[in-house]
């Protein structure tokens, strides 16, 4: 994994988002260090309770800060964020505390995940090698977004740096595991997508009426061990909300 040299690449970078936001970007490519910096910087902004901040969120390598522009102007907020950026080397920050490891049983290929062959081909792997690669990968919840509780996971090896489709697949089901650009996404609801559907899980990542509506937090880690279709059906029947997925605490 490449380590960015912030000063020479022009990062971190602060840019505007629409009328009421600023985006602090740590890299224009996904790196482990940039993602770690992102998680740490968001935590610091939340902790610092800057004036006029309405909410924060993260993408893969950026922190979004939405604020009340009638209280604090863009220039002032930019100054406050720049000052925080200058305080330390965010690329060497630690991961957040209280993270968990999720193991989520997954069916690869077949009728439940019809684009495994196509994705393996683009990655230059046989189907067997592709399943081996994906089911042995331990990935981080790099960010949550797009839809409720939906994680972007990675990074995967460079062989999985395959493009999105230019046309959308009309619909993949909730629990679909899809791949593109060295990342996995695990869908929390049925959705159209440009990513390729390689695996199917039975986990429900967003349960609006549950005491804990969102299963994951950024920084959590996930594994997707391969199971047979018969085993998958047994697991999802026995455990309709999690499909046999198990979470354990990660020690710091």
């Amino acid at each position: 994994m490449s380590v960015p040299i912030p000063s020479s690449e022009g990062f971190p970078l602060i840019r505007t988002v629409g009328l009421h936001g600023l985006l602090v970007t740590f890299s224009d490519t996904l790196t482990e260090a940039a993602n770690r910096a992102t998680l740490a910087f968001r935590g610091a902004v939340d902790e610092r309770a800057l004036p006029a901040v309405l909410e924060t969120s993260t993408s893969l390598a950026s922190v979004f800060v939405r604020f009340d522009t009638s209280d604090v102007g863009h220039e002032q907020m930019r100054g406050l964020l720049q000052q925080m950026l200058d305080e330390r080397d965010w690329y060497s920050a630690d991961l957040p505390e209280g993270r968990r490891l999720w193991r989520v049983p997954t069916v690869y290929g077949g009728g439940l995940a019809p684009q495994l062959a196509e994705a393996a081909d683009l990655a230059g792997l046989s189907e067997t090698k592709a399943v081996e690669s994906l089911s042995n990968a331990r990935v981080r919840v790099l960010t949550i977004g797009f839809a409720p509780g939906q994680p972007y996971l990675g990074p995967l090896g460079e062989e999985w740096n395959i493009p999105r489709q230019s046309e959308l697949t009309p619909m993949v089901p909730a629990g679909a595991l899809v791949v593109a650009i060295s990342q996995l996404v695990l869908f929390s609801s049925a959705t159209p997508t440009g990513w390729r559907h390689v695996g199917q899980t039975g986990i429900r990542l967003f349960q609006p009426d549950a005491a804990r509506p969102f299963a994951l937090n950024p920084g959590d880690e996930m594994e997707f061990p391969s199971v047979s279709e018969a085993e998958f059906r047994r697991l999802t029947e026995a455990d309709p909300n999690f499909g046999g997925a198990i979470a354990t605490e990660l020690s710091a």
Binding site: V17, L23, L54, S59, T69, F146, S166, I181, F206, F214
Partner: protein
């Protein structure tokens, strides 16, 4: 408890308020009413808080039986409206007596109409709001057979009317540059604002398709950029360079690049643009955008002061009639105030 029994309703009806801000970090976009002006107008007409929920109907209205006396207001895209068969004025508040039937037809222009109840709609809050967010699996469409219950109504006026803010047939959309605008060449951005678009067939609470005759608006290397934060109003280019304006119920992050962000105050115009309506984008500076948005918010706050009584004074009535008749909402021979 007052309420309306839904006897018939279109397929795109849901309870909406101003949505649930603050959950972007968990992937939940704010959502809420497609046309926030419609929500604010209904609140002003009934003299209540704009945070209360109303029924949003896309394209087609429905038939509603009052289970108890109840105050209502109708805003947003104008529909043919009547109480027990007698036409009533749009963008106005009315009294429904127990057993009376409110009938709302198809929209005459625009897309989303709002039915407000005195006391608001008393559905349970999920994650802090009542707004259905169907894309996120929160809430459900309102269907025939449902009863829409009203909250406690502190009482207030009926027979109030607000002038209609024109936003139901497309027009100009102000757009600011955002953090991905630079991915699009300068001449392409200029061509974007020189292009006349039509609203396409793919349009819902998440996004609205923009069609044009000329070439598309693809960014360089756009299939491989990192997924990034989305704000409502972002104009996203799909792989073939076709623009979609992302709406309040859009996803929170996405990988397709965005050329800029339509001002929040111009989003009602996008939501309310009917199929085929002409739309154009005009670039404005961040300062101009903030100023326009501030003006819009001040205007919404002042709506209660703009409410006028629906009076029978012939001089005033002439005004109201002419405004109603522009689109032929009611026939020239029927009395729009019958049934008051």
């Amino acid at each position: 408890m007052s309420g309306l029994l839904v006897q018939r309703i279109g397929p795109v009806a849901s309870i909406q308020d101003l949505g649930r801000p603050g959950l972007l970090g968990q992937g939940v976009s704010q959502g809420g009413a497609a046309d926030v002006r419609g929500i604010a107008e209904g609140a002003a007409l009934l003299g209540q808080s704009p945070e209360l929920a109303a029924l949003e109907m896309g394209g087609i209205g429905g038939e509603f039986l009052a289970t108890e006396p109840i105050r209502i207001a109708l805003t947003g895209a104008p529909m043919m409206a009547s109480i027990d068969g007698s036409p009533i004025v749009w963008n106005a508040s009315h009294q429904l007596e127990k057993g009376q039937i409110l009938s709302l037809g198809a929209v005459r222009k625009g897309v989303y109409a709002y039915l407000h109840l005195g006391g608001g709609i008393a559905s349970p809050k999920i994650l802090g709001a009542r707004a259905a967010h169907l894309a996120a699996g929160i809430g459900a469409a309102v269907q025939a057979g449902d009863t829409v219950l009203a909250g406690a109504d502190k009482g207030g006026p009926v027979g109030q009317v607000l002038p209609v803010d024109p936003r139901f047939d497309g027009g100009e959309l102000r757009i600011v540059e955002s953090f991905q605008s630079a991915l699009f060449a300068e001449d392409l951005r200029a061509r974007f604002s020189d292009t006349q678009f039509q609203r396409g067939t793919r349009a819902n609470r998440m996004g609205v398709e923009m069609l044009n005759d000329g070439p598309g608006f693809a960014a360089e290397g756009q299939l491989n950029i990192l997924s990034e934060i989305i704000s409502p109003g972002d104009v996203q280019m799909t792989g073939d360079g076709k623009p979609f304006v992302l709406m309040r119920e859009c996803q929170t992050t996405g990988g397709y690049p965005r050329i800029g962000t339509v001002l929040p105050c111009d989003l009602p115009k996008v939501a309310q643009a009917p199929l085929g309506a002409g739309l154009r984008f005009r670039w404005v500076s961040l300062e101009q955008g903030l100023e326009a948005q501030q003006k819009f918010e001040a205007e919404l706050k002042s709506l209660p002061r703009s409410c006028q009584p629906l009076v029978r004074d012939p001089a005033d009535m002439q005004d109201l009639l002419s405004y109603q008749l522009v689109g032929g909402v009611v026939s020239a021979t029927s009395d729009p105030f019958e049934g008051e």
